[in-house]
């Protein structure tokens, strides 16, 4: 007990009235040991971020506050110390890094100045000493050209570089505890892998304890020594990684782990000979910014070829900026293309105007990523789903009846029809989006990251729904995702994209066991938890 770095006892954090529960966190007990990485895992709304903030007294607003319990650190109760004493702890003894490095850094200060600030607050070093220290820190997080970086502003760096700078800033004074609040969630898979290994290395080097907040079991598998599982503010399971991941005791933990798509490819199948429903040849799309002082042209799609056969699911996989969403929208003709050919069931649609495209809309429909932005907040659900058929001539009364049938098909209660989107959860809204797409009776369904914004348990349900519907209605599906686990579970073939080009296309099993392109190899290797073995079902 006495060798703990941080000890949380019976912590309770209240929420303002009107929230979905009275406390963000109730009676939490957590012990952080020296030199260990403790992962606090939970879904959104579980209160995990609140715990992180409570430690440093950074809870938002007067009505969200610590209502009970103690946080013992270096002989003091952090929940009870004065503001002045807390300021001495922050940044020096306990440091914190956040999820979104773009917004977590002051856009108007240089990187050098922001790191300098920590040194100025807590040390009496002179200017030259501080500068030397900052340069050393930047080098230790493997940032190139530290001298130039000193004078750079956050917007001039990439996401990964910004996060490295934040880590440098946090470790500047070798704190005993580092709190990392979902630091890799907003990053690409390959960048994520680099940052995770950086944190691990630095942690070992400095002997820092780390409290790592995450929602991703893969990350836990890669980096944790101890795991604590949080469900709606209550700690349901805690223990060494091997036992929590290998033999979870609590039903919630088991359910969560079961919901994570396994990094196991489906069995090999014979190549499909079904007719082509989508044929995209040499598709091009460029975004140009031709300013007065030179042009900045981005090739979002650089001569892309894609084939989709009837009844199969093709995955479009890649990191941000790879062009996968752009390709999906190009095929659905939600945006015009600058070159190439697109054939939907044999019909060429690349050059059609919006008006000419209208009759072809029935063939292909899209399901979108953002459950909060993909539904018109001012429309009733039944109208949202019925709108497509009404546009194409179905009588409104009949269209609404059919819409209700669609809602039942996606697993929603008929009473949902008269309600508005904001009354539903994220997963339910995605179902409404799927119903809207299906109401048009398309042959091809294009799903653009349909589960990326959902919690892992809800994700599993929506994926199951999509699989079920696809089988029942004999659909062909184009599935865009950045999450390789999901792609392995759902897709028959996978096309890997990078910088507007298709780098490799192959059946799922083949691409997993024998990737041909080095980028594909790197992508699969970067998936967190790649080494994690599945628990034996109890």
């Amino acid at each position: 007990m006495s060798d703990a770095v941080l000890e949380i006892e019976k912590l309770t954090i209240t929420l303002p009235p009107g929230a979905d529960r009275p406390n963000a966190v109730t009676d939490l007990d957590l012990v952080l040991r020296p030199g260990a990485v403790t992962c606090l895992i939970g879904e959104s709304g579980s209160g995990k971020s609140m715990v992180a903030r409570a430690i440093l007294g950074l809870l938002p607003g007067p009505r969200v506050r610590v209502a009970g319990g103690r946080i013992q650190f270096e002989g003091a109760d952090l929940a009870a110390i004065t503001a002045r004493q807390m300021r001495k702890v922050r940044g020096a003894r306990i440091a914190m890094i956040f999820q979104e490095p773009m917004t977590a850094l002051n856009p108007l200060h240089t990187i050098g100045r922001q790191i300098d600030e920590v040194l100025r607050i807590h040390t009496t070093l002179g200017r030259a000493d501080r500068r030397a220290r900052i340069l050393a820190l930047l080098a230790s997080v493997h940032l190139p050209d530290p001298i130039r970086l000193l004078r750079s502003y956050p917007h001039q760096l990439s996401g990964g570089q910004r996060q490295r700078a934040m880590i440098a800033m946090a470790l500047a004074l070798s704190p005993r505890l580092l709190i990392a609040d979902e630091p890799t969630t907003a990053l690409d898979v390959t960048t994520q892998a680099q940052i995770l290994s950086l944190i691990r290395d630095l942690q070992r080097e400095h002997g820092t304890s780390v409290l790592f907040i995450t929602h991703d079991f893969g990350v836990v598998a890669d980096i944790a020594d101890t795991v604590a599982v949080l469900q709606k503010g209550v700690l349901v399971e805690q223990g060494p990684k091997a036992s929590v991941l290998g033999a979870p005791k609590h039903p919630y933990t088991r359910a969560l782990i079961a919901a994570v798509p396994k990094l196991v490819p489906p069995p090999r199948r014979a190549a499909s000979t079904a007719p082509l429903v989508v044929e995209a040849k040499q598709v091009e799309k460029t975004y140009g910014a031709r300013g007065l002082f030179g042009s900045r042209v981005t090739r979002a799609l650089d001569g892309v070829d894609v084939l989709l056969r009837r009844g199969e699911t093709l995955g479009l996989v890649g990191e941000s900026g790879s062009g996968k969403s752009t390709l999906a929208r190009a095929i659905t003709r939600l945006m015009p293309v600058d070159g190439g050919e697109i054939l939907l069931a044999g019909h060429s649609v690349a050059e059609l105007s919006r008006r000419q495209m209208r009759p072809h809309r029935r063939r292909v429909q899209m399901v979108f990523q953002d459950p909060y932005g993909s539904l018109d907040p001012r429309q009733r659900v039944v109208d949202i789903v019925a709108e497509g058929p009404i546009i194409h001539g179905t009588e409104p009364g009949i269209a609404r009846v059919q819409a209700c049938e669609m809602l039942a098909l996606v697993g929603l209660d008929p009473s949902a029809a008269q309600r508005f989107p904001h009354e539903f959860s994220g997963g339910q809204r995605q179902r409404i989006g799927i119903a809207r797409a299906l109401a048009m009776k398309p042959e091809i369904l294009v799903a653009d990251e349909p589960v990326s914004a959902l919690d892992v348990s809800v994700q599993a349900q929506v994926l199951a729904l999509l699989a079920d519907i696809k089988a029942r209605l004999h659909l062909s599906m184009l599935f865009v995702t950045h999450d390789l686990r999901v792609a392995l579970q759902v897709c028959d073939r996978i096309a890997v994209m990078r910088s507007g080009q298709v780098v490799e296309v192959a059946p799922t099993a083949e691409i997993f066991f024998a990737p041909k392109h080095p980028y594909t190899e790197a992508l699969f290797a970067a998936v967190p938890g790649a080494q994690w073995q599945e628990p034996i079902p109890a």
């Binding site: 929208r329 659905t332 939600l334 919006r354 008006r355 495209m357 209208r358 009759p359 809309r361 029935r362 429909q365 899209m366 979108f368 990523q369 953002d370 909060y372 932005g373 993909s374 539904l375 018109d376 907040p377 001012r378 429309q379 709108e387 497509g388 546009i391 194409h392 904001h422 989006g433 809207r436 048009m440």
Partner: protein, 275 residues
């Protein structure tokens, strides 16, 4: 709708503003009863201080200041509402076209909007009224001509933001035409912002109208608060009430309008941007 009204009502300041406005509207409606006759008519001895028979005194020619103020209220309301309505129509059209079609259309229309926002509004308004000869109509035209850019920028911003939202893209995918997307989806999602800004615009319109009348550019056949103030300027030393009360009326009216506008903004805007 119920909850929106309730939330508005819980804002005491907004409620007070609404009460004042209702009182104003009542005054305008009842004016022919309360102060029958022509407000320009001479009804008593000149320069009577407030109190007694004339609640707010009489002016330099012996007109009842209270009657003048009551009739002036009508002018302010008419001009305020018409000018704002015209500005909203014009601004929504221009901003909507710019925000929906983007590209060259957007650039051109936004340059135009910026231009009209840059040039000194009040000076332009004066010029327009002077050139078209002072009348209710020319005042409405002038005020609308300087007020529309604010709405245009707002609507264009909203349309650009909405255009990127996935539900608009989804409508496109369903095969909806431009008209349907704009009128059924985008405009309804803008109305709350337009209402909130539009209400504040009414207040500005009343202030501009008062300024124009003060400078002698008001409709000569119509009583206006600014006109009363300008007529009282010469006797400011001795008969301060002629300038004081109409100005107070302006202040209270614009204040009430702004309070209501702020209240509407708070109620209408956060809900629909929910997460």
């Amino acid at each position: 709708m119920q909850t929106a009204l309730a939330r508005f009502a819980s804002n005491r300041l907004a409620l007070a503003g609404a009460a004042v406005l209702l009182g104003l509207i009542a005054l305008v409606a009842l004016t022919p009863l309360l102060y029958p006759g022509d407000p320009f008519a001479l009804v008593g001895p000149a320069l009577q201080p407030p109190g007694g028979q004339f609640l707010l005194g009489t002016d330099t020619l012996g007109r009842d200041v209270a009657a003048e103020i009551a009739y002036g209220a009508r002018t302010s309301l008419i001009i305020g509402l018409s000018a704002t309505g015209a500005a909203i129509l014009l601004g929504t059209l221009i901003g909507g076209l710019a925000g929906y079609y983007r590209g060259g259309v957007e650039v051109a229309l936004m340059r135009l909007t910026e231009f009209f926002q840059t040039i000194p509004a009040f000076v332009l308004a004066i010029l327009i009224v002077a050139i078209l000869s002072p009348s209710l109509f020319s005042e409405v035209v002038a005020i609308a001509a300087v007020s529309w850019p604010g709405i245009a920028r707002l609507v264009r911003g909203e349309f650009v933001a909405l255009g990127g939202r996935e539900f608009v893209l989804a409508c496109d995918g369903l095969g909806a035409g431009d008209a349907r997307i704009v009128f059924r989806h985008m405009l309804p999602n803008c109305t709350s912002a337009i209402i909130a800004v539009g209400t504040l615009l009414i207040g500005t319109a009343v202030l501009i109208e008062a300024g124009l009348a003060f400078l002698g550019l008001g409709d000569p056949n119509v009583m206006s608060w600014g006109l009363i103030i300008s007529s009282g300027r010469a006797v400011l030393r001795s008969a301060w009430w002629i300038c004081a009360f109409p100005g107070l009326a302006i202040l209270l009216t614009v204040l009430a309008i702004n309070l209501v506008g702020d209240g509407l903004n708070e109620v209408l805007n956060p809900r629909l941007r929910e997460r």
